[in-house]
Amino acid sequence: MPEVEKSEEKSRLIKAYTAVILSRTLDRKIVTSQRQGRVGFYTPTMGQETLQIGASMALEAKDLIYGYYRDVPFMLHRGVPMENIINQIMGNRDDSALGRQMPSHYSDKKRNFMSVQSPVAAHLPVAVGAAYAQKYRKTGAVVIATFGEGSTSTPDFHAAMNMAAVFNLPLVFLCENNGWAISLPVEKQTIAEIWTKAAAYGMRGLRVNGNDMLETYEVVKEAVKRAREGKGPTLIDAISFRMGPHSTSDDPTKYRTETVDEGSDRDPVVVTEKLLKAKGFIDDKLVESIKTKAQKIVDEKFEECAKIPAPDPKTAFEGVYAETTWMLEEEVRDIL
């Protein structure tokens, strides 16, 4: 590999690794803060960092992300400011959604990260429409939609997969297969391997080791390239493991025997460090400094955001329509 390319790869991977560490650090911070009562609710992302960041590396700025509630690493790597994420979780005045949504329901239109909603997979048919619009308007943008493996059982997944294939759209379905849907293991969710479901729609389906950031990157990159070239959608089954609980309200000891601990061989942070060390891109000193810096940033940002007050009460009843209704005006007069 020529020097320039090598150095480009190095800086790209260090940026990615830094995002992995930032995500993990932020994740721990929020979980701890939730236990301290400083945060209401949260869905940890631990274990799914590299698959998301690998995917993010494969995208251009104009591409659209229809993500879900576990996509913090994706957002951080894509350049969503950390304070946007924390403000959303706090639901404070600076949250772009004005504290209307539960924590973990992010939105960042500037970075084309569509507002996350709760009914799982409901964003998938919507992503199909967005992809149709890209094709129709010839923007050259690709849409990537993420979702858990449990979400493949939903009506919305079926509708989206079939329509994306029928209309041959620039769309990548990235299944973040972390093995669990709350307490249901993937084996009880469905009998088939997730990637094989693509064939039912005449779509290409691939499996990738999500804990390998580079493998994920390569596979997503190729799928994005095909999509951009008009060769249609791909379903990618990215295998990972949900290292934490489903959410801060969940107690996985009720149902789970197998675990993956932080620092163990299957921890994507460890996998990524090994990979980058083997390439000679990082060493213990750099790792140490990245982690220390990440901790500092996370702590500072968190405290800054925690100081921001709640939104003005009247905002809870604004923006339902472009023009409000007389009923709501009347009701709000009664409330405030």
Partner: protein, 322 residues
């Protein structure tokens, strides 16, 4: 000005709007090559191509979901659900997505979409081709629910809906698709949303109705020389409360007419809103002439639908009260 029925009026309006604005896309089952099972989109695929008049697979939630995504990406989709009875698999997309995206994203994302669907009885469609589900939508903040009662309004309301900026559920009374013809102005004109029309004026009673029931109430009042206002809501959510209260304060007697089952139907909201504001004006209880609280029968359809006899029974009861 040309005489036309509602199918022709809507077809022409879609044609006119699509010719002007390439961001308008139609999608639905059998709307393209076939021109729609009611022929409302006839000829449009030929004219605008299969990319703009899309024959979709058989999946209502996909049709609505796709339309939402198109709207989010700058298009103006007009999805069609073949019969309103089949919209229920798409309810999550409608209630949890279309209606809530503007709010949940702090206004960053909006859904300018007009969801067209034929509703109601009158074609002997039985349980699953006759339902009037407006109340399900009217209970959903974020939606705007519109229904025309004649070809001319259909055009003006549809054009207003396309430019509205938020999701509109556009309910087409299939009973009126071909049963009435009228002059429809050429060119662009708007019938405003959120505004009712007083389609007949009088002093003694107020009939509040919409969609398929408007011609029936009109002919009933005419035939029986009822001296009353008839208010055609046109927009069901949010309804035009000023027009309603204004009339009730004058007449003091109210009959509400809709096809949908009575319980928790729109008639309930209209009645409650009146009592809140104009109790002192009421000279008699507010009466509702509606479909009964049962599914919609096939062979005995005419017993289900409100008719002249039932409306007059209510009017007479109002007039005779006290």
């Amino acid at each position: 000005m040309t005489e036309m029925n509602m199918v022709q009026a809507i077809n022409g309006t879609l044609d006119m709007a699509m010719a002007k604005d390439s961001s308008i896309i139609l999608l639905g089952e059998d709307i393209g090559v076939d021109g729609g099972v009611f022929r409302v989109t006839d000829g449009l695929q030929k004219k605008y191509g299969a990319e703009r008049v899309i024959d979709t697979p058989l999946v209502e939630l996909g049709i609505v979901g796709m339309a939402i995504g198109m709207a989010l990406s700058g298009l103006k989709p007009i999805p069609e659900i073949q019969f309103q009875d089949f919209i229920f698999t798409a309810m999550d997309q409608i209630i949890n997505q279309a209606a809530k995206i503007r709010y949940r994203s702090g206004g960053e994302y909006t859904v300018p979409m007009v969801l067209r669907t034929p509703y109601g009885g009158g074609i002997r469609g039985g349980i699953y081709h006759s339902q009037s589900g407006e109340a399900y939508f009217a209970h959903t903040a974020g939606l705007t629910v519109v229904t025309p009662s004649n070809p001319s309004d259909a055009k003006g309301l549809l054009l207003s809906s396309i430019d509205y900026g938020d999701p509109v559920i556009f309910l087409e009374p299939k009973k009126l698709y071909r049963s009435m013809k009228m002059e429809v102005k050429e060119g662009d004109y708007r019938v405003p949303l959120r505004k009712a029309a007083v389609v007949r004026e009088g002093d003694e009673v107020t009939a509040i109705t919409y969609g398929s029931m408007v011609p029936l109430v009109k002919s009933t009042f005419e035939k029986n020389n009822v001296n009353g206002d008839i208010i055609d809501l046109r927009t069901i959510l949010p309804m035009d409360i000023e027009a309603i209260v204004h009339s009730v304060e004058k007449t003091g007697r109210v009959v509400i007419v809709h096809e949908a089952p009575r319980t928790a139907g729109m008639g309930a909201e209209i009645s409650a809103a009146i009592t809140e504001r104009a109790l002192e004006s009421l000279l008699a209880p507010i009466l509702r002439v509606t479909g009964p609280d049962s599914p919609f029968p096939y062979r005995l359809e005419e017993y289900y639908m409100p008719n002249e006899n039932r409306i007059m029974k209510a009017v007479n009861k109002l007039m005779e009260y006290r």
